[in-house]
Symmetry: C2
Subunit: 440 residues, 2 copies
Amino acid sequence: MAESSKTAPLRIALAGLGTVGAGVIRLIEANAALIARRAGRPIQITAVSARDRGKDRGVDMTRYVWEDDMIILGEREDVDVVVELVGGSDGPALACARTTIEAGKALVTANKAMIAHHGLKLAEMAEAAKVALKFEAAVAGGIPVIKGLREGAAANEIERVYGILNGTCNYILSTMEDTGRSFADVLAEAQAKGFAEADPAFDVEGTDAAHKLSILAAIAYGTRIDFASVETAGITRIRAADIAQADALGYVIRLIGMAEEDRSGETPRLFQRVQPHLVPFDHPLAHVDGATNAVVAEGNYSGRLLFQGAGAGDGPTASAVVADLIDIARGDIGAPFSVPVSELEALAPASSGHRLGRTYIRFTVADRPGVLAEIAAAMRDAGVSIESLIQKGRAEAEGEVLLAIVTHEGPESAVTEALRLLEGSASLTAAPLVMQILGE
Amino acid sequence: MAESSKTAPLRIALAGLGTVGAGVIRLIEANAALIARRAGRPIQITAVSARDRGKDRGVDMTRYVWEDDMIILGEREDVDVVVELVGGSDGPALACARTTIEAGKALVTANKAMIAHHGLKLAEMAEAAKVALKFEAAVAGGIPVIKGLREGAAANEIERVYGILNGTCNYILSTMEDTGRSFADVLAEAQAKGFAEADPAFDVEGTDAAHKLSILAAIAYGTRIDFASVETAGITRIRAADIAQADALGYVIRLIGMAEEDRSGETPRLFQRVQPHLVPFDHPLAHVDGATNAVVAEGNYSGRLLFQGAGAGDGPTASAVVADLIDIARGDIGAPFSVPVSELEALAPASSGHRLGRTYIRFTVADRPGVLAEIAAAMRDAGVSIESLIQKGRAEAEGEVLLAIVTHEGPESAVTEALRLLEGSASLTAAPLVMQILGE
């Protein structure tokens, strides 16, 4: 980099002017002086682009060049970095990202879906072009967890990385916990308040958390992103009764994304799962309420590191976007995934079967004699050892009873086998709900 | 930097081979392959130095050059970075740091006392020599909080930075909480277990936390380190009764270091204080137990960020030291305090008087009539509004009663004034203990 380019303003273009885009503009304007001081040079917005030019975004856009076509932002001579805030794994976002890097410009994005699906290809392009590709805002909003893993914990073999990666789910679960209300009820309220999307599937089915987990796993383990292999379960089937049950046992329920390397076989495999977990009251994640996110990285020397903060919102997301810009202004164009893409390992996915743990299984059963014996026999035949069994009166629906089992520590494969034995049983009125108990 | 120097091994020398030094050697050896992958080049130990060559440190030193004089490590042609782990604000550590930077070599240190006292001068020298000076391990052990503030939160004006910065104090306080035992009793146990030094004053009087706070404040606010102005109170006067009282009111007691810019006057001032606080049960810091450290940074866009982990120990400290080395290997030689020393502001210290807050005041009083009236009158005359008053039976000592007051929100100066009015009163058998209640 020439000496002059180290002190000249870093000129950026924004693609996408939703709430986060407007937040980035507000932040860059409000904190301009301190950003310039810390970055060593000013960060200036040159050009902007979005679908609808006429929309009132609450910030003055007239001082920036407007481009109708965001694809060509990176080709402008007065642009050093394009900030992509359009969203969506493909379409205009991806086209914009590609043309930017092809034009030899840096790319900063908050787009977890695009990075989960196309991050490796984009990183390869960026490495070849010797430009930065940064995506701190794509995982856990304003929390600098990509940096925490990529740099802060860089000396460590990561034994386990896990966390609360979706603020909408955490808001719903902690509100159910506080109020005793049902999932559907709390979701509807969250939608009314704007905390949940009109189509909430992406959040409540776990897909969004899975996108983020696949990115974290790649950085933590130096592996190729493998979003398709993330075992994913959402929170839609959790009932108020499950939360009450968990509480009585000393747990809260949280949607946890977790990745670890499985070195039990001949070749290492990568385990990635998003699933509701029972989290013991004394675990730091049990105190993460509302839309907050938190990520735990367990390093072989650092021990347990916790990063916590706002997982979404225009301010926090803008904070992460501009942190990336400051890094670029300071000259950091290191490998997006910590090591060059060519050196990332392609690990086969590990099934959950090999894992040891304690499991919470909630059955919805018919209210008639013999049901308990049938379930107990299946557990016995599969070698599942039961630590406690809770049956509390009738459930909401007529003739339906809820029955919860907590197992002793044992292989998850045994639980899977027990449930297979019970498949098709007339005693079960719905598929059982399975949640792992988060272990130390 | 020449292209070859970006792929050649980064050659380091270790000054000081205590538990942390041995930990750094173990970590660099055990994780050598992944460190080389992430750093883009190997990190190799070339030379070592310590006071006692003969001591068994549990690691093989024979493959490294031994230097009797650590001062000259940085002058060796086969050394790029010196890691100073000797400790002490002056003496050999400082001499080693100076000669290293004067020789044009990078310095990594875990020495909070040296950075608190001489960090600005060393940073000036490093900036002039265009070499790195890094000290992640000096604050909060293995937690990447210097990086979190300097880079992760770089886009933000920091409204408040505070945290649990001394593991020994936190271990003592949380053990007193769990067991109901006295300070002296728990301290003696901690000393026997090796969790506290034979001379514990440095930890329990708050000095160590004040060193760390002064470093955090400089980075958060872009100000010159001002360790001398940190208002410091330790934990030695906290009794089991205070902890029980706090618990009954919904709080735990934690030693908190806090810094904020006071912009209430014509010129900004810097407020820095280490003091035991009452922390509400629902605050994340209330769940930080044992020797764990945690730092909260509240940014004007990021919102509240929490960084938590092991605050000491050879593994975590080595993790932070090697993270710094990896940054250096990657080419990061940015300003040690985020902005060049010449641009750091010299802010006058802010007194605590301007601050608004709620305060816990515990009096030790003589067991006779009229005492309560005297205290209540002093509070009234100073304009302190009392939220609750707790008097529970007799205290440990004969004829002595403990009386605790929690104030409504008001200026801290009013509390100071009330205590001034009570100074010399025969009713008080000891100086009152004052703790702030941590606000939202």
